[in-house]
Symmetry: C2
Subunit: 698 residues, 2 copies
């Protein structure tokens, strides 16, 4: 996976370089010159002899020295010839095809053209990024093959992969032109991914010593499963931060219209990102802030954060954001830490009230800032510190920056700072950043970056765990049966049994007589459900009756149910009825599984009942899941407090529940013929659970 | 309410001016000089003859010309003398007391000192802002009485009121030093509010022709009710945007520690802000962005927004944010608009797919941008437009800015723009802003500002409505009875009846015999509830039994209930039992009312049941509410879909429910002796409702 010839080439040919300032072929050359790319640059254009002071060659073949990378900006139909020339030369190792008009058009001959080019490239050992690609950059090499205007290359540890060239470039333009600029190391727009794809660049960044954090802008991917698998191995070593757009229905519709493909259920992406250790962010600023924090500071060794503030307002704003993000705990400072802080700080300081919150007061000077930070960082109960200051007139911001920077460097814990005073603190912020302490425009942005660092701490724990060997279940007989007579309901129960999922003890009866016999052996009160291939949501059509207390009620119920169902679903074939003991009350949950268009088999967990459907309190994961992942799913729903013994109830058997989720996840992953599974409701008890209804679609 | 002597004084004396650069008394004078304040400036200091080129006077009394405003920076104990001198002069109209060390210390003599000063001021016709106040500013007058370092005064239509001096000042420092600065008109830190308070400044801004939008930073207020009433009258004329911190439990704890007072339930603030037409924002950037949008653009006449983008990424990001904010609808463009756009725009453009979304494509030039904007703004189905562009190399950003600005000015609809390319578009953004079109750093920030503009459109509709005359209910007899014998339960039902709130037809029985008689007339199945002054949550102690079907079950139930309750609440006096017919199934809701520490009487509405408690899906309003406000409460809960006929059920009688909320709100507002009301559950039907349980605490 060596892409060095792209990112650190010794020589670059720009095929299609132009002297026309409005053309991409000019801007690329201009960018290389402006930045002072250290290697050789060869413009290629048969109509020019010199552009921007570079000698211009009529063709690739005319360049006398070695060409490692070529940037191709000629129109699409002219691209194959360029590659033939490159093949002829034999020294070109990498090509960025800026030209558009290939497979992205959907026109068959253009799709073919792209394939043809890649074939030539492959046969001659040339790797390709693009076509339809804005370009790539490497700050360290002062390389910029893009036609983006005037990107200010500021050194940093963040490397970027973007699915949108223009957005990706504009992010860097914004970042580099901020009062306190945000730097980067490498940048790549993936374009049509005819050869080198997003995954390969991800893997390259993993091994790239200059890349400390990977920022990805994503609109949607086809090989989502592979992305997740690769990301998991990369995320173990380096933070991956993803801005995946289409979070809401509106956004997702716009994304679908833009990319021409279904963006995929966003909640499934959420789950997949968690499983692969990816920190997902909501917007561009958060992407930049989080990548900056990761690339400058060590990962926190825990989730206990301290806010050290010089003013109440920013402190409260940061606390609000920590509360909203919900990934951190506030550090409970040790009694000695509290005592020392009281001694060091001005008398008006408020120490550890609330827990983990220190208001140093506006009287705190440079030395007190630094000392307080030192004391707090030395507390073993603190995993990271957010330092907030609105420097008052008497404070010398640069002195503050120097002292705080020195202290932060002594410790191996993340310190994120916000000095809130415009250009008044610009130099101080730069001093701090030179010392390795990232600074942020706003307290809430520092807080969110810290929440995201702690999120990675949590995610890393979830990247490994006991793997299940899976189940060797042959279900072909059941699948065949279901397809033949449509009796999915009965097949469902058998299929689940083979995965050791016990459903409630239901009896299938065809007649009133059979019903009465079964009722006798089960015992009243009973639940009765209709079985009909035409009826999916039984309760909506009167096909479920609870609390049947006697034989008389039972026969009455069966007769009425037949009439009701026929009335609501005309022509429904009633195969019979399921009888079961009325289950005791318990917490109702739902477990589902399906095949997602992008992600393949996924498992879903949520609270049960109508209301919960309204609140959309469900979580997804790619299937199969490990037992610890299942446990994390259970803990992740908003209503999770319900399982811990809510309002005096006994805690639920979450271990049994997690085991059930694991089994369902294996079933969907191992049985491609099973389209959809829904256990709903599953009733949870202090010991065990009961699956009250199961639906399997084959 | 004329505070002109503060904000536009002809002359300013700075009492305590200093030549020491580290002192506030120096920085204030320096700020006035630096900005070029147009009026007279008189430093007062007995030890200096000249500071920063201004002639210095030994005392206020020595200034020969008129002094309209005095800024007092001497230590607290010296302040009374300054006011005596001012009183002596007779011409001082206004005083900003920067000095701290007064009532905020909580020390009795300091509280007295503050009172004493205000008394002198009042007797001499001097109005006071402060003490403990960072100062005030007026960009138009180039006035800056603060000691904040180097605030860059950029003209704008936003005026600020802040409860935190340092945060408030740092916001302006940030805003003024942005690559494209955000301007302001007036700014005031309220300090201790010994005389002029937040409300008076709010009213002053209302009548101030230079103020187009009011931005408030708030940590918590004591006279919350009055604030809301005033805000309501101001908000009719001008947008008020409030950043109230302490949104989350963490933030609220920090705020409590900081201000020393309870911050108040945040959900109550939410409701109060809605009732007073205030647009609440989440953070500093949103405060600035929203104020900027309001101060430069007209309010949308509806909620139908169009996104006009040149690139997919920013468009999707903006759509995501619109979806998250949830205040707007996407405009469905008219067929003619769609046709014209298709004609004007490059062939790759995606028009009105999804609805309200136009991707002009990266090929769109300056003219096409402007034409498309013109066509979209002319569509009567469009109430506002978000314009997003990542200018490609061939686009001349300034030309774009000029053309777009011209078009936007032709229409009376809000246009918010985001040109995303760092300094490359800095000049173009300034051109647009000069033309009155606000520009934003990020697409999501433009989108959020638009969502907030539309929010105001919705809020304004809710500021007026049919007022209820209230109920003339004398309940003193009931209150007395409840206090005497503790039989709150029975009193509750009578009290509710006087407000025409009918509870379910319950019979109070003392003995088994009475129970059987009542049961006969009510009819089975029945619900039985224990009545005991010691038992509050009946169901938690076995004091509620449902579905009693026979006389035999009834007597058994009453006996068992007596034993159970005694066991769980030892010593409980059982006064008797309430019997009622088992109510039919329905949607369960809860209505509550209480007296909030800051806000006084408030009414609460939410969905019922255990799960909903977990999701905290409740809304508050100040009581009493109008019927349209009650209806808005019903529509505001997250699970509101449940009332509209969820999954085939019939829609609920929300009119009756709204009427019930209005009645409860009047009860709590008109009966100060009633501490707490809870109707839980109230069961809703297609026609009417049933109050199944009511609790009133007196």
């Amino acid at each position: 996976m060596n892409l060095d010839s792209f990112f650190a080439p010794k020589s670059v040919a720009i095929v299609g370089a132009s002297s026309d300032e409005g053309k991409a072929g000019h801007q690329i050359l201009y960018n290389m010159k402006r930045l002072g790319f250290s290697g050789q640059v060869y413009p290629v254009n048969p109509n020019e002899t010199e552009i921007l002071g570079y000698r211009c060659y009529p063709s690739l073949l005319d360049i006398p020295s070695e060409v490692e990378l070529m940037v191709v900006v000629v129109p699409a139909p002219a691209v194959p010839d360029v590659f033939r020339h490159a093949a002829c030369r034999g020294d070109v190792r990498a090509a960025v095809i800026v030209a558009a008009g290939f497979s992205e058009t959907g026109i068959p001959e253009r799709v073919e053209l792209e394939k043809h080019i890649v074939e030539i490239a492959r046969n001659s050992g040339i790797r390709v990024i693009g076509p339809n690609c804005v370009g790539i950059m490497n700050e360290r090499a002062k390389l910029d093959t893009t036609f983006a205007p005037n990107i200010n290359q500021v050194p940093g540890g963040m490397s970027v992969i973007t699915q949108s060239g223009s957005l990706g470039a504009s992010i860097l333009m914004f970042a580099g032109d901020q009062p306190v600029p945000i730097g980067f190391n490498k940048w790549a727009h993936v374009g049509n991914m005819s050869d080198v794809d997003l995954l390969e660049i991800l893997k390259y960044y993993k091994h790239d010593p200059e890349t400390r954090a990977i920022a990805v802008y994503m609109e949607g991917i086809d090989n989502a499963r592979e992305f997740v698998d690769t990301a998991k191995t990369v995320a173990r070593d380096k933070p991956i931060i993803v801005l995946k757009v289409g979070r809401t229905e509106l956004g997702s519709n716009a994304a679908a219209s833009h990319t021409g493909s279904l963006a995929g259920a966003d909640a499934v992406y959420d789950g997949a990102f968690i499983q692969s250790g990816i920190v997902r962010v909501r917007n561009i600023e958060e992407l930049l802030d989080t990548a900056k924090a990761f690339s400058m500071q060590p990962l926190p060794a825990g989730d206990r954060i301290c806010i050290l503030t010089e003013a109440g307002g920013p402190g409260i704003i940061a606390m609000d954001d920590l509360g909203e993000a919900g990934t951190t705990r506030l550090a409970d400072l040790a009694p000695e830490t509290v005592a020392t802080l009281r001694e060091i700080l001005p008398p008006m300081a408020i120490v550890n009230r609330p827990k983990g919150y220190v208001d140093m007061s506006a009287a705190a000077n440079e030395i007190q800032h630094a000392q307080a930070l030192d004391v707090v960082l030395a507390d073993p109960g603190v995993d990271g510190v957010i330092l907030l200051t609105v420097p008052p007139t008497f404070l010398r911001p640069e002195e503050l920056g120097t002292r705080v920077g020195e202290v932060a460097r002594k410790h191996k814990k993340p310190v994120l700072a916000c000095l809130l005073a415009g250009n008044w603190v610009k130099q101080a912020r730069q001093t701090l950043e030179t010392a390795g302490v990232p600074t942020f425009d706003m307290p809430e942005r520092a807080a969110r970056a810290m929440s995201n660092m702690v999120k990675r701490f949590h995610l890393l724990k979830g990247l490994t765990g006991p793997t299940s060997p899976g189940y060797c279940v042959d279900a072909s007989d059941l699948i065949a049966r279901a397809r033949k007579d449509g009796s999915q309901e009965l097949v469902a129960r058998e299929l689940l049994m083979r995965y050791q999922i016990e459903c409630d003890d239901y009896r299938f009866v065809r007649t009133e007589k059979e019903a009465l016999e079964s009722a006798e052996s089960l015992g009243y009160p009973l639940v009765v459900k209709v079985v009909s291939p035409q009826v999916i949501h039984k309760s909506d059509v009167g096909g479920v009756k609870l609390n049947i207390k006697s034989a008389q009620e039972l026969t009455g119920c069966i007769r009425k149910m037949g009439i009701d169902v026929q009335q609501k679903v005309p022509g429904a074939t009633i195969l019979g009825y399921l009888l079961a003991q009325q289950a005791p009350e318990g917490v109702e949950v739902i477990i589902g599984a399906t095949h997602d268009a992008q992600m393949g088999p996924v498992v879903m967990f949520g609270l049960g009942g109508t209301l919960v459907e309204l609140y959309k309190d469900v979580v997804f994961r790619l299937a199969p899941v490990r037992i610890d992942e299942a446990m994390h799913m259970i803990e992740s729903v908003k209503g999770a407090a319900l399982f811990k013994g809510y309002r005096g109830a006994r805690p639920c058997d979450v271990n049994a529940l997690a085991d059930l989720i694991v089994k369902v996840s294996h079933l969907i992953a191992e049985q491609p013929d099973v389209k959809d599974i829904e256990l709903n409701p599953v009733r949870l008890y202090a010991t065990g659970y009961k699956v009250l209804d199961a639906r399997v679609i084959i």
